[in-house]
Subunit: 220 residues, 2 copies
């Protein structure tokens, strides 16, 4: 049976509810594929939305807070946030402008983020960021020292109030528009990796590690 | 001379200020390349971040509000929002985990969004959405009728309080880490279009329009 994360009044999808998913596997799949999340929070009446790196670990997501020092000021009791991850899969060209759309998969997670405190916790989060994208990198690169851990701010958010929204598949036109002589279809979009560019100060005989080569050949 | 949009206390980049740009051309370039924006707003103490389509027209951005009916409830006097556009350009693998990064270009626009009212205004906005991505599509597709215009919610935000943040270029390691025998470099990332998928109910002899073919061959 598909396991669900029960929707709340705030995560029930009001607009286009047939595109909503509350399946844990769907939600986690989108989060695990995304490279960047957008974190929303509020400072003195003004919303801010900041892109940052993140990783899901179990039923939580960890995200970098250092990109937004503004976030951290009022954080003693936690900060209400929304973390959104969006994957763009295609442009949908209907016969009518009104039915133009995109294929996409997105997750919206609501709740109160708290700061990760201990160096052990932070180390685990940084490891998750690295290993999510490049499994093997953590053991090869120089790991963070005490000073670097102190300089790193990481926030955690439990995935208790979270939903996905997905549009997939072909054009959906109004019945009477199918007779129009207008090209319709989908332009698929995806993120691809180019050839790795070795740093100029690396030994020129050093081959790119397997996880770098594989990254470029993984569908995303 | 480069034209700047003067930073305010809220758009001055605090973290990594050397990556900030307040150049109008840089900001507009990022906005015009982005397919999706993330809109942040607040309802009953909870921030929300919703992905949606948008277009820049002159010194404003227009974005779809229908995706977030929540946004519109309190809108009579305008809604404080943050609209963020992020382009991911690459993964930066430093010799140390701490200096791992991404190459990216992002824009953060702050202000008060208002609802576009008149059918003429809305038509112009829908035209901008379409023509931004697929120049020529507007004239070919069936344009919105009165009922569809009524069903469409579009918000506008003036680009008066806006800044860009850009990371570009190679790895930056700490001086002493360059001696480490660790592969370092950049994995470039970009969004690419696959072959257009003609709708099953289109006449099979109908070739994809020029703007569809060109979309796939445009760097983005």
């Amino acid at each position: 049976m598909k396991e669900l994360i029960a929707p709340t009044g705030r995560t029930r999808v009001v607009r286009e509810p047939h595109r909503a998913s509350h399946e844990r596997a769907v939600i986690y799949g989108i989060l695990d594929e995304g490279l960047v999340c957008h974190v929303g929070f509020r400072v003195e009446g003004q919303p801010y939305v900041i892109p940052t790196m993140f990783a899901r670990v179990g039923e939580e997501i960890y995200f970098h807070g250092s990109a937004a020092s503004r976030m951290l000021r009022n954080l003693s009791s936690g900060l209400p946030v929304c973390v959104t991850v969006t994957l763009v899969d295609g442009l949908v060209l209907a016969r009518s402008v009104f039915n133009h759309s995109m294929n996409y998969r997105s997750v919206v997670a609501l709740g109160t983020a708290t700061l990760m405190d201990g160096p052990g916790e932070k180390l685990a989060a940084l490891r998750a960021f690295t290993e999510k994208i490049l499994p093997g990198r953590w053991e090869e690169a120089r790991q963070p020292n005490e000073k670097e851990l102190k300089a790193t701010s990481i926030l955690r958010l439990g995935l208790t109030e979270v939903s996905a929204k997905v549009r997939v598949g072909p054009v959906e036109d109004d019945a009477e528009d199918y007779a129009l002589n207008v090209w319709a279809g989908v332009i698929p979009l995806r993120m691809v990796a180019g050839d790795p560019e070795r740093d100029a100060r690396c030994n020129a005989s050093m081959a790119a590690p397997g996880y770098v080569e594989r990254f470029g050949h993984t569908e995303r």
